[in-house]
C-alpha cells in the first residue's frame, strides 16, 4: 500500500505550526536602542535631505533653512562672531531635523537588506501550458516544465516548486502540500504548512520549500510582490503622509505664517519706536517662534510608528490604517483561536447514578483514544491527568478495537472492543508492535471472543435514542438526572457529551456526561478591561449558538457577541457600526473574510491566510496572531499621542522664548523692558543666541522620544489628557526657561 505510506511521510514531515498558545503573545523583535553608529551612518542621508526641493514639504523647516541661508549671507557680508554663531546654529537646527528623519529611515534599512537577500534571481520551473492532458492537469504529475528566470513570471503562470527550492513569486498553491520556511519574512524559524485549497494556500515569493512539492499559480507580477512592498514600507521610500499628518502640517504652516507676520511687522513697529532691529535678530526671533520642534520631528514620528509595527511583525499597507487604528471604536475578534484556545476541551466528568467517576472516565477515555479530534485528545488528557494519574498503564487497551466514526446521521462516535474471555475487567492488550490501528478498517484484527463491548459518546438525544434502541428502559429518575447534568453543562456554554456502553447483547446503559468547554485564554479579561478603559468595544464573533456564545463572552469579559455568525452577518455588523460613525477593526484569514476585511477600517490579514484575505486587509500580521489587533491599536494611539505631545510642547515653548528675546531686542531703547528678562540672561546677544541654541538642541534631545514614542498605558481619554497635558503642556512652558538659562550660563563664558 503505497498511498498510506506516502501520506504518513507527509504527516510526519508536518511540523507543528506554532500557534498563539499563550496570551499575551508578544512575538517581537528586540527593540532597537538608538546608537551612535546609527546616528553617524545617518549623517550623509541627513545632509542630502537639505535639498530645498525636499525640504519644501515641511514648510517650517524650509523657513528655517531660508533663515539659515540669509544669516549666512549676513555673516559673510558683515563678519561678526555673533552672526556666525547664529548662522551656525540655524544650520544645526535644519540638520537636526533631517537627521531625525534619516535615523528613523535607517532603522528600516537593515530589515530591508535582509529582505532584499530573498529577492535574488531564482530559476522558476514554469509549466508549459499547452500540451496538458486532463489527467496531468488534475494532478500536475509528470507535466512538462521549462526553466525561466523568476523575474519573467507573469500573473497566471503556474510553477512547480520542489524541496530545497525557493518559491519564485507570490501565489496560491493549487496542488500539493509542503512545509515552507518563511523565516526570511517572519523571522520565525519553525516552518509552516502550505497546501492547496482552504485558507493556507498562499505562498510568498522568496520563501523556501523544505519538503515535498507544490504547484503554485503566480498572483503578483515581479516587482510588485509582497516582499517588494515590504521593502518599500520598511525603507519608508513609499511613505505617503497620512491625513492627520497633513492636517497637522496645515496647522504648523499657519502658525509659521502668523509668526512670519508678527516678526515682519515688528520691524515697522521697531522703526516707529526708534529701535530698528537687525535682520539677523529678526530671523533668529522668527526661527525661535515657529514650531520647529514638531516641524522637525513630524516625519520621523510617522516613520518610527510604522517601524514599531514592523518590529512586531505587522506590515501596514497604508499609514492611514495606522492612524485609523488609534481611532478604532469596535474590535471584532473571532472567538476561536483568538479569545479561546480554539477547540473545546474536556474539563470534568459527571457520572450518572451509582456509576463511579473513574468508571465513566475510563469509558470516555477508551472511546476517545483513537479519536484524533482535539476534543477527543482533550478527553484522554483530562482522564490521564485527573482521573487516572497512573493511566499510563492503560496505554494499550485497543487490541482488536473497531473505531465507530462520527457521522451526521448517528451524531455519535465510539469504539467496539472485543472482550477477551476470562480477561481482567475487559482490558485488552495492544498488538506487540504497539501501533494503534486507528483507521477503523474492519478485518484487520483477529477477534478474541464473541462478546463485544460498545462504547458510544455523543449528543444527549442521539445517545438516548441509541440506548433505547438496545431495549433499555430509562427510569424517570435516571432521565431527570441526565437532563440535570446536561443542563448543568450547557447552561454556562459548555457542550455535554453523553457516554454510554453496551456489553454483548445486554441493554446499554448511560454512564454519565463529559463536560466539554471552550477554554478562554489567560489574560483575555484584563486585555478587554483595558480596551474598555480606552473606549473600545470588543465584539466576539462566533458560529456558536447564542447561549454558548454569551457564556463564553461573559467569561472572557467581551462587551458584545455576534452568535451564529455567517460572513454576511459579519459584513452587516461592520456596516452597521460604520453607519453609526464608528471605526471597526478586525482580523481574518479566510477567503470568506475578505469582504469584511475590506469593509473594516483596520483589517488585519493573517500571513497564513489566503491571497484574497491579504489583499482585502490593510495590514498583514506575519505572526498570524489575531490578538495582535490590540497591540496595533496601541501603536496607533501611541503614534498620535507622540505627535500631539510634541506639538503641545513646541507651542508652549514659545512663551519662554519671548521672555528671552524680546527684552534683548529692545532693552537698548527701552531699559525698563529689562524687567521682562526674568531669566536674568547675561547679555542681549547671549540671550538671543541661547534661545536659538535651545531651539536647536531640543530637537536633538527629543529625537529618541520621537523614535520610540511617548510611553503609553491604556487609560481613559480623561486620564491620558491630564497626564500628557501636565508633562508636555506644563513641561513645555517650564523646560525652556531652565534650558535657556543653562545655555546662557555656558554661552556667557564662551562669547
Amino acid at each position: 500500500m503505497s498511498t498510506p505510506t506516502q501520506n504518513e511521510s507527509t504527516i510526519a514531515a508536518r511540523p507543528e505550526v506554532p500557534g498563539p498558545e499563550h496570551f499575551p503573545h508578544r512575538h517581537t523583535r528586540p527593540a532597537r536602542a538608538l546608537t551612535w553608529s546609527q546616528v553617524r551612518e545617518a549623517v550623509p542621508a541627513a545632509l542630502r535631505k537639505l535639498d530645498p526641493r525636499d525640504l519644501w514639504h515641511s514648510p517650517v523647516m524650509f523657513v528655517v533653512e531660508v533663515g539659515a541661508l540669509v544669516t549666512t549671507v549676513l555673516a559673510i557680508v558683515q563678519p561678526a562672531v555673533f552672526a556666525w554663531w547664529i548662522a551656525g546654529w540655524l544650520w544645526a537646527t535644519v540638520v537636526f531635523a533631517t537627521l531625525a528623519e534619516a535615523i528613523a529611515e535607517s532603522r528600516g534599512k537593515a530589515q530591508a537588506s535582509t529582505l532584499r537577500a530573498t529577492q535574488q534571481q531564482t530559476t522558476a520551473h514554469r509549466i508549459v501550458a499547452s500540451p496538458m492532458t486532463p489527467e496531468s492537469a488534475a494532478t500536475f504529475d509528470g507535466v512538462e516544465t521549462v526553466e525561466v528566470p523568476s523575474a519573467t513570471l507573469r500573473v497566471g503562470d503556474v510553477v512547480v516548486v520542489t524541496a530545497g527550492q525557493a518559491i519564485p513569486g507570490d501565489g496560491d498553491v493549487i496542488d500539493g502540500v509542503a512545509s515552507v520556511d518563511e523565516s526570511a519574512i517572519t523571522g520565525e524559524s519553525a516552518p509552516v504548512i502550505r497546501e492547496s485549497g482552504g485558507d493556507r494556500s498562499a505562498v510568498t515569493g522568496g520563501t523556501r520549500v523544505l519538503s515535498d512539492r507544490i504547484v503554485v499559480r503566480i498572483t503578483a507580477p515581479a516587482g510588485q510582490t509582497f516582499v517588494d512592498r515590504m521593502i518599500a514600507l520598511v525603507e519608508g521610500s513609499e511613505r505617503q503622509r497620512t491625513p492627520n499628518e497633513i492636517a497637522l502640517n496645515i496647522l504648523l504652516t499657519s502658525l509659521t505664517i502668523v509668526f512670519l507676520l508678527a516678526v515682519a511687522t515688528l520691524q515697522p513697529f521697531a522703526v516707529y519706536s526708534g529701535a530698528r532691529q537687525s535682520l539677523l535678530v529678526l530671523v533668529a526671533l522668527l526661527v525661535c517662534l515657529i514650531p520647529t520642534t514638531i516641524g522637525a520631528l513630524l516625519s520621523a514620528i510617522g516613520i518610527a510608528g510604522m517601524d514599531r509595527l514592523v518590529q512586531r511583525n505587522v506590515l501596514a499597507m497604508s499609514g492611514r490604517a495606522v492612524e485609523a487604528a488609534g481611532d478604532v471604536d469596535v474590535l471584532l475578534l473571532d472567538k476561536t483561536g483568538t479569545i479561546t484556545y480554539g477547540n473545546r476541551r474536556a474539563t470534568e466528568v459527571l457520572p450518572l447514578g451509582s456509576i463511579g467517576p473513574r468508571e465513566l472516565a475510563d469509558a470516555a477515555r477508551l472511546a476517545s483514544l483513537a479519536d484524533a479530534t482535539p476534543e477527543g485528545r482533550s478527553i484522554v488528557e483530562l482522564v490521564d491527568t485527573r482521573y487516572a494519574p497512573d493511566g499510563g498503564a492503560g496505554a494499550g487497551r485497543l487490541a482488536g478495537a473497531e473505531l465507530v466514526p462520527f457521522t451526521a446521521q448517528t451524531r455519535m462516535s465510539g469504539v467496539d472492543l472485543p472482550v477477551p474471555s476470562g480477561a481482567d475487567g475487559g482490558v485488552g492488550r495492544l498488538p506487540r508492535d504497539g501501533a494503534p490501528s486507528a483507521d477503523g478498517i474492519p478485518g484487520n484484527h483477529e477477534p478474541s471472543s464473541g462478546t463485544v463491548r460498545r462504547i458510544r459518546k455523543g449528543a444527549g438525544s442521539a445517545i438516548q435514542r441509541w440506548v433505547l434502541s438496545t431495549g433499555t428502559a430509562l427510569s424517570d429518575a435516571e432521565k431527570a438526572e441526565l437532563t440535570e447534568h446536561i443542563d448543568a453543562v450547557s447552561r454556562p456554554g459548555g457542550t455535554p457529551l453523553v457516554v454510554a456502553e453496551q456489553t454483548g447483547d445486554r441493554p446499554a446503559r448511560i454512564l454519565g456526561v463529559v463536560r466539554l468547554k471552550d477554554v478562554v485564554k489567560n489574560g483575555m479579561r484584563e486585555r478587554f478591561d483595558e480596551l474598555r478603559a480606552m473606549g473600545i468595544r470588543s465584539v466576539m464573533v462566533t458560529g456558536d449558538n447564542a447561549v454558548t456564545a454569551r457564556a463564553i463572552a461573559a467569561e472572557a469579559g467581551v462587551d458584545d457577541v455576534l452568535a451564529e455568525a455567517t460572513p454576511e452577518d459579519k459584513l452587516a455588523l461592520i456596516r452597521r457600526e460604520q453607519e453609526g460613525g464608528r471605526l471597526v477593526a478586525m482580523a481574518g484569514d479566510g477567503t470568506n473574510d475578505a469582504p469584511a476585511l475590506a469593509q473594516s477600517d483596520v483589517g488585519v490579514a493573517m500571513n497564513t491566510g489566503t491571497t484574497a484575505a491579504k489583499e482585502a486587509g490593510n495590514m498583514v500580521d506575519l505572526d498570524s496572531d489575531p490578538t495582535k489587533l490590540i497591540e496595533i491599536v496601541e501603536i496607533g494611539k501611541q503614534l498620535l499621542i507622540t505627535r500631539g505631545a510634541l506639538t503641545t510642547f513646541s507651542v508652549a515653548n514659545d512663551v519662554a522664548k519671548y521672555f528671552a528675546i524680546l527684552p534683548a531686542m529692545f532693552v537698548g531703547v527701552f531699559p525698563q523692558l529689562d524687567v521682562l528678562n526674568i531669566m536674568r540672561l547675561s547679555s542681549p546677544e547671549s540671550a538671543i543666541l541661547s534661545a536659538v541654541i535651545f531651539n536647536a538642541l531640543i530637537i536633538l534631545v527629543l529625537v529618541p522620544l520621537a523614535l520610540h514614542g511617548v510611553r503609553y498605558r491604556p487609560a481613559s481619554a480623561s486620564a491620558l489628557l491630564r497626564r500628557n497635558l501636565l508633562i508636555y503642556g506644563l513641561g513645555g512652558l517650564i523646560a525652556p526657561f531652565a534650558g535657556i538659562k543653562l545655555i546662557d550660563l555656558v554661552v556667557s563664558l564662551l562669547v
Binding site: L255, F269, Y272, G535, G581, V651
Partner: protein
C-alpha cells in the same frame, strides 16, 4: 473718594450683574434654541418672506447661505452709503449736509459689519433719518447676521450626515430680529427711558447754562437706539460721547442696564449651543472659558486703574482721568472690559485715558478675537473655532485623531480654521505696521512714542475685530484711516464668516461619531483650562511683540 469707599458698591454692582446674567441665561438660552429650531413662522415673518420672495423652509447649503448673507450685506452697504450721501435732501436732516464719500464708505461698512466705528460725532454728522433708517436698522440686522452665522456653525456640529445644509439665512436673519432683538430692545428702551434716557425727535434745544452761556442740546430717539446699540454689541452711540453722555447713560442704574444688555446675548449663546448640540455641559464649558477670561480681564483692569500711578490718581484715589464721576472707576472698568470683550465698542469712559496696563488689557481683549464673550454670534463662533484649534493641538494626546462634538477635524476643517486664525491678526498687524511708517498714517497718531503705537494698534484691532471702540487719540476722520479701516472691517467681518460657514457645511455633512471613554472629553474643567490656554497662547503670542513695544513699554515707564 478713596478706593476703599468705592469697593463695596463696585462689588455689589458686579454681583448684581452676574446674578442677573446667571438667572436670565438659562430660560433665554432655551428660548433662543427654540427660535432657531422651531418649524413655525409668525405672521409678520411670513409677510416678510413673501415680500422678499424666499421659501423660509428651504434648507440652504453653506455656499448659498453665504451668498445670501453676502448679498444682503452688500445691499446694506449700498443703501447706507446712499442714505448718508443724500441725507441733506431727505427729511429730519437737522440742516446737515451729505457725508463725504470716504466717511460715508467707512460708516456704511462699519455699521454693516457690526463694528460701528465712529470717526465722527453722531450729533454733528448724521441726521435723525440716517440714525433711524440707516444706523438703527443695521444695528438690528448686522447683529442678527452674526447670530445666524453662529447658529449655522452650531447646526454643523449638531447635524449628522446632511449634504452640507446648515439652515436658511433669511429665516435665521428674520427670526433673530423679530423674535430676539426687537422684543428685548423694546423692553430695554422703556427701562432706559424710565431711567432717564431721552427719546424724542427734537432738533437742537437752546438752554442757558449756569454760567449764563447758551448751549444747544440735541434731542433724538436715543433710548431706542441705545437699547439695540448694546444688545446687538454694535456700539455706535447717538452722541459722540457715547455712553458717557448723560442723555445716553444718565446714572448707575442705566449704566448697569447697558452693561447687562451688551453681555446678555453673548453669555447666553453658549447655553443655546449646548441645547442645540444635545449636551448642555458643552455649553457650560464654553461659557466657563468666556466668563473666566472676562473676569480675569475685569480684575486686572480694575486693579490697574485703582493702582494707577502718578500724583493726580493719588489725589483722586484712582486714575479718574477720562472717566465719568457719575459712575466711578470700577463701573468704568466694568463697562470698558465688557465693551471690548464683546465686540460692542460703546464706551462710558475714554479708553485712551486708561492707565497703560489697563488700556493694554482692553486692547488685549480685542486682540484675543473678542471671544470672551465676544460679539453677538461672533463671540460664540470665534470661541468654537478656537475650541477646534485646542482639540487639534491637544486632542492627539488622547491617542485619537482630533474630534470635537463627534466631528473629525481633518485637513479640510483644519485649513478653514487655520485661515480663520490667520485673517484678523494679519489685518491688524499689516494695517498698523503700514500706518506707523507712512506719512498719512503717522499724521493721525496724536501721542508720540509707545502710547501712539497703542493708539494705532487699537484702531486696527478694533476695526478688524469689528469692535468699534477707539483709543480716542487716533484721529481717524482722514481718508487714509477711513479707507484702510473700512477694508479691515470688511475683511475682518466677512472672511471669517465665509470660513465659518464653510466649516459648518463640512461639519454638517460628517456623520456624528458617538462619544466613548476614548474620546477627548470636551466638557470637563481640564478642557476649559486648555481652551483658555490655547486662546491666550496661540492668539496672544501673535501680538506679544507689538504689545511689548506699546502698552508693555508704557506700563513699565
Amino acid at each position: 473718594m478713596s478706593p476703599a469707599v468705592e469697593i463695596w458698591p463696585a462689588v455689589a454692582q458686579i454681583g448684581i450683574l452676574v446674578l442677573l446674567l446667571a438667572l436670565v441665561h438659562v430660560p433665554f438660552g432655551a428660548y433662543m434654541a427654540r427660535v432657531y429650531t422651531s418649524p413655525a413662522h409668525l405672521r409678520v415673518e411670513r409677510a416678510f418672506y413673501r415680500a422678499v420672495r424666499v421659501d423660509p423652509d428651504a434648507e440652504q447649503r453653506w455656499m448659498s447661505y453665504l451668498l445670501s448673507l453676502l448679498g444682503f450685506s452688500l445691499v446694506s452697504v449700498l443703501f447706507l452709503y446712499a442714505l448718508e450721501r443724500l441725507q441733506g435732501a431727505l427729511p429730519w436732516n437737522l440742516g446737515l449736509a451729505g457725508i463725504d464719500p470716504a466717511g460715508a464708505w467707512s460708516t456704511a461698512v462699519s455699521f454693516t459689519t457690526n463694528t460701528n466705528w465712529q470717526w465722527y460725532s453722531g450729533e454733528a454728522t448724521a441726521s435723525h433719518l440716517t440714525q433711524m433708517a440707516g444706523f438703527a436698522v443695521q444695528n438690528f440686522v448686522s447683529a442678527s447676521v452674526g447670530m445666524a452665522v453662529a447658529i449655522a456653525l452650531v447646526r454643523g456640529f449638531a447635524r449628522s450626515g446632511t449634504d452640507a445644509r446648515i439652515g436658511n439665512f433669511w429665516t435665521d436673519l428674520t427670526r433673530g430680529v423679530v423674535r430676539i432683538l426687537l422684543p428685548i430692545s423694546f423692553v430695554a428702551a422703556f427701562a432706559l427711558m424710565a431711567g432717564g434716557v431721552i427719546q424724542n425727535l427734537d432738533p437742537h434745544t437752546a438752554i442757558t447754562t449756569i454760567e449764563g452761556a447758551t448751549q444747544h442740546l440735541l434731542g433724538g430717539p436715543v433710548a431706542s437706539q441705545e437699547a439695540i446699540k448694546d444688545l446687538g454689541t454694535n456700539g455706535g452711540g447717538f452722541f459722540n460721547a457715547n455712553s458717557s453722555h448723560p442723555f445716553e447713560n444718565p446714572n448707575p442704574i442705566t449704566n448697569l442696564i447697558e452693561i447687562f444688555l451688551l453681555l446678555v446675548i453673548p453669555f447666553t449663546l453658549p447655553r443655546t449651543f449646548g441645547i442645540m448640540v444635545g449636551d448642555k455641559r458643552q455649553g457650560w464649558t464654553v461659557l466657563a472659558v468666556m466668563a473666566g477670561l472676562w473676569a480675569a480681564s475685569l480684575a486686572l483692569t480694575t486693579w490697574a486703574e485703582l493702582a494707577g500711578p502718578g500724583s493726580a490718581p493719588e489725589a483722586a484715589g484712582a486714575a479718574m482721568e477720562g472717566k465719568e464721576v457719575r459712575f466711578g472707576l470700577p463701573a468704568s472698568a466694568l463697562f470698558a472690559v465688557s465693551t471690548t470683550a464683546t465686540s460692542t465698542g460703546s464706551v462710558n469712559s475714554m479708553h485712551d485715558s486708561f492707565t497703560a496696563p489697563g488700556g493694554g488689557m482692553l486692547l488685549f481683549n480685542i486682540l484675543l478675537g473678542e471671544v470672551a464673550p465676544g460679539g453677538v454670534g461672533a463671540g460664540l463662533y470665534g470661541m468654537l473655532v478656537l475650541a477646534v484649534v485646542a482639540v487639534f493641538i491637544a486632542g492627539l494626546m488622547v491617542g485619537r485623531t482630533p474630534e470635537y462634538l463627534g466631528k473629525k477635524i481633518g485637513r479640510h476643517e483644519m485649513t478653514l480654521v487655520a485661515l480663520y486664525v490667520l485673517t484678523v491678526p494679519a489685518l491688524v498687524l499689516i494695517g498698523t505696521a503700514v500706518s506707523v511708517v507712512t506719512g498719512p498714517g503717522l499724521a493721525g497718531i496724536q501721542d508720540p512714542g509707545a502710547h501712539g503705537l497703542s493708539e494705532a494698534l487699537y484702531g486696527f484691532a478694533s476695526a478688524a475685530n469689528n469692535n468699534g471702540s477707539a483709543f480716542a487719540g487716533l484721529s481717524t476722520g482722514t481718508p487714509w484711516y477711513e479707507w484702510l479701516q473700512g477694508l479691515a472691517m470688511l475683511f475682518g467681518r466677512f472672511v471669517p464668516i465665509a470660513l465659518v460657514l464653510a466649516l459648518a457645511g463640512r461639519l454638517a455633512s460628517q456623520t456624528k461619531i458617538p462619544a466613548s471613554a476614548g474620546t477627548l472629553p470636551t466638557h470637563r474643567p481640564l478642557f476649559a483650562g486648555l481652551l483658555a490656554g490655547v486662546t491666550l497662547i496661540v492668539v496672544g503670542l501673535t501680538f506679544i511683540p507689538v504689545l511689548s513695544l506699546g502698552p508693555v513699554v508704557e506700563s513699565l515707564s
